[in-house]
């Protein structure tokens, strides 16, 4: 792609009846990068991905996928794992992977051979001849993921890939995503779990309520918020609060506040001079979670976390 981007979207809008599901989303996914779309459930992530892939058309806005504005014409060069997992239960794992490759133009025999190799690499070689209905939910999900990349696509789009996976398979999936990136593929995935986005993504977009709230690198996202200082004095007194920045708040016997624009040096000198001393001091870059809270609001994040917790419990129960 001459532009250096595997995928771009310019002001995508999609309405379902009276509800605006996606409201002017802009995205640019650099070639060879791992790009995350982060947002709570119902934020418009799946609709955005479907529009980008040409499964549904936007009401307005433009998209370019692998150098073309007709995404369906390059579907053989794309791998897609939809949010709703689905496989034919009567198919063997090997055949299910080969079938998904065949849909994208990979010969059956080649697909079967690759399926065996991929399953073995993922530690699932023993399940190659097993029917899907015999596999655990996590294994079946992994088989589907392998099916979506068996044809070695240039662009891999994964909708909530970590959802429903146990920690072992989540780790396995993270390794696979990194391996695919190393192969040269561009990876775009949606998630509502910030840890994965923070660990994997070169860039990300945060969507909430159908709107794009942030687009850039993880580091840039964190840099949008000031570094926080956690200070514990040796000698506390009511006068100390007047020396600290006005937004400083009590925190475990100390104070937490944003590092001033002028830096910590002058403030520390004043604190020492006034005899408050330093029992403890740490400087913390804000996490993606903090950025996310700032962008989408505490209430939404709490709801997301409750949903993630419920999902994890269900997974543990299954």
């Amino acid at each position: 792609m001459a532009s250096g981007f595997a995928l771009t979207a310019d002001h995508l809008i999609k309405d379902f009846g009276a509800k605006r599901a996606v409201d002017g989303v802009d995205i640019a996914v650099p070639e060879g990068s791992i790009y995350g779309i982060l947002g709570p459930n119902g934020a418009g992530k799946t609709t955005t991905l479907r529009m980008l892939l040409g499964i549904i058309d936007p009401d307005s806005g433009t998209r370019e996928l692998l150098g073309t504005t007709r995404p369906r014409s390059v579907s053989d060069r794309v791998g897609y794992l939809p949010e709703e997992r689905g496989l034919y239960p009567g198919m063997k794992s090997r055949d299910a992977i080969a079938f998904m490759g065949a849909l994208r133009g990979l010969p059956w025999a080649e697909g079967r051979a690759r399926a065996d190799d991929m399953l073995a690499d993922a530690g699932l070689g023993h399940a190659a001849g097993d029917k899907i209905k015999k596999l655990s939910k996590g294994m079946a999900q992994f088989v589907q993921l392998l099916g979506s990349i068996v044809h070695r696509p240039e662009l891999i789009v994964l909708d909530e890939p970590f959802s429903g996976l146990d920690p072992v398979n989540q780790e396995r999936l993270e390794a696979l995503i990194l391996a695919e990136r190393d192969r040269g593929a561009t990876i775009l995935f949606s998630t509502h779990i910030m840890g994965h986005a923070e660990r994997l993504c070169d860039r990300l977009a945060i969507i909430a309520g159908g709107k794009l709230r942030y687009e850039g690198s993880v580091a840039e996202a964190r840099a949008t918020m000031p570094i926080q200082a956690h200070y514990t004095p040796r000698e506390d007194s009511p006068a100390l609060a007047k020396l600290l920045p006005p937004e400083a708040a009590r925190d475990n016997g100390g104070y937490v506040f944003d590092v001033p624009d002028s830096g910590m040096e002058a403030l520390l000198a004043t604190l020492l001079e006034c005899g408050h001393g330093v029992a403890g001091l740490s400087l913390e870059r804000p996490s993606l979670h903090d950025v996310f809270v700032k962008l989408v609001g505490e209430e939404t994040v709490e709801k997301m976390e409750a949903e993630a917790e419920a999902e994890a419990k269900m997974e543990a129960g299954a």
């Binding site: 499964i55 579907s75 053989d76 897609y80 009567g90």
Partner: protein, 416 residues
């Protein structure tokens, strides 16, 4: 376009193998055998019940020995001309106690109807010059037969021919027919029409539920992301069409082997020779089946694609069956009145055209109408598939209630 066909072929292959490589397919393949077995058992049972009733029925001759012998001789000559199963009840001779010309015989004849051992249908009594018939209720047809026997016996008496002897020697010479009969061709046309209807009813109707699997196990989104839904639609149709062809090849092969095993079958079949010849007729039959299957199958597939549950699919099956029966009725009426306006309509209406045209092939020697009909049907197959796929695309990825449920909700809303 090539890519579309390649993708459709992948889906067709998956569907074909998934259908054929299951124990359930064996049941499906052998279903006609079960049908035949049940028909045989049921038919035999019904026949036994009917026969036990028929066996009790009698036509009685209450006459002196000479007259009774003449009646029996006439019966021996005429009875074999009746086809199996519709012959009159057996003849039974009773000797009269009284003089046959007296009033006592009539009383004897009436008394026979009270005989609890047999069901007397009719009684012939009297003499060759003055035969009389006593006819039980509902036995007029059998009485006609007895009257015919009495008439034959009377002629024999008047011509002085001994009982059972022929008046003249008839020379019989077999003739092997070399051309078809009009009735034979019409029978063949109707049989082919019925067979085509039955096969499309049984086989094309299956497509209505074929997408339930993809919708149920969520594979539809994978397919929709990987290939155009038009290719999914076409692949599904072709996959099931392959299953249908396998079914037909299996039973067609068995029928051919069975026919070849029947001695003199060729001579028997001459009367049914289709006007365009057996080879072209069979080829046309397969082509018309393909057209009928693809046309109706595309409609059913598109309609089934809108349904969200097996219950909705079951509900849809009834109107679809009625629609097919309507097409059968239209084509049958057309076959019964070839050349009529109705026949032309049935031949032109896309969904009845395959049925009407296959019947036409049995009696009309012209080939060009078939070429034109196949081109016409092919056009409609393409239109139906394109429209069906478009409708399918709109409905299949839409979440929430199906189009039928929304329709129901809208109607309820209006009523309220």
């Amino acid at each position: 376009m090539t890519s579309h066909f390649r993708q459709a072929a992948v889906i067709a292959r998956r569907d074909f193998i998934a259908t054929v490589a299951t124990p359930a397919f064996l049941m499906f393949l052998l279903a006609p055998l079960f049908m035949l077995m049940f028909a045989l058992v049921g038919g035999t049972g019904a026949r036994m019940i009917a026969d036990s009733g028929d066996d009790a029925q009698r036509l009685v001759i209450l006459a002196d020995a000479d007259y009774a012998a003449r009646i029996e001789a006439a019966d021996a000559r005429i009875r074999p001309t009746f086809p199996l199963g519709i012959a009159p009840p057996a003849l039974e001779r009773r000797s009269p106690v009284h003089d046959v010309s007296g009033a006592g015989t009539e009383a004897e004849a009436r008394a026979l109807f009270s005989d609890s051992g047999v069901d007397v249908a009719a009684v012939l009594y009297g003499s060759p010059d003055a035969p009389r018939l006593l006819i039980g209720s509902g036995s007029d047809r059998y009485a006609d037969y007895l009257a015919l026997l009495a008439e034959t016996a009377a002629r024999d008496v008047r011509s002085g021919v001994p009982p059972g002897d022929a008046v003249t020697e008839i020379t019989r010479e077999p003739f092997e027919r070399t051309s078809a009969t009009i009735g034979g061709q019409q029978s063949l046309g109707f049989t082919a029409l019925f067979l085509l209807f039955l096969l499309t009813l049984l086989l094309a109707g299956q497509t209505v539920s074929v997408l339930a699997e993809e919708k149920g196990n969520k594979v539809i989104e994978i397919l929709a992301a990987a290939v155009p839904l038009e290719a999914v639609f076409l692949g599904k149709l072709i996959g099931l069409f392959g299953v249908a062809l396998l079914f037909i090849a299996f039973w067609g092969g068995i029928a051919m082997i069975g026919l070849a095993a029947v001695p003199d079958s060729r001579a028997t079949m001459v009367a049914f020779d289709p006007a365009i010849g057996f080879g072209p007729f069979l080829a046309l039959g397969v082509l018309y089946f393909a057209m009928g299957y693809l046309l109706l199958g595309a409609v059913f597939l598109a309609v089934g694609g809108q349904a969200n549950s097996m219950r909705e699919i079951q509900m849809l099956s009834l109107p679809i069956t009625f629609f097919q029966m309507g097409m059968f009725g239209l084509a049958s009426a057309a076959a019964a009145s070839p050349g009529s306006g109705l026949a032309l309509f049935a031949e032109l209406f896309p969904f009845s055209s395959p049925f009407a045209m296959v019947a036409k092939g049995a009696s009309d020697p012209a080939l060009w109408p078939h070429l034109a009909a196949i081109a016409w049907q092919l056009l409609w197959v393409s239109i139906t598939i394109a429209l069906g796929a478009r409708w399918f695309r709109k409905g299949v990825l839409k979440s929430g209630p199906s189009v039928f449920r929304r329709l129901g909700q809208a109607l309820r809303g209006k009523a309220a």
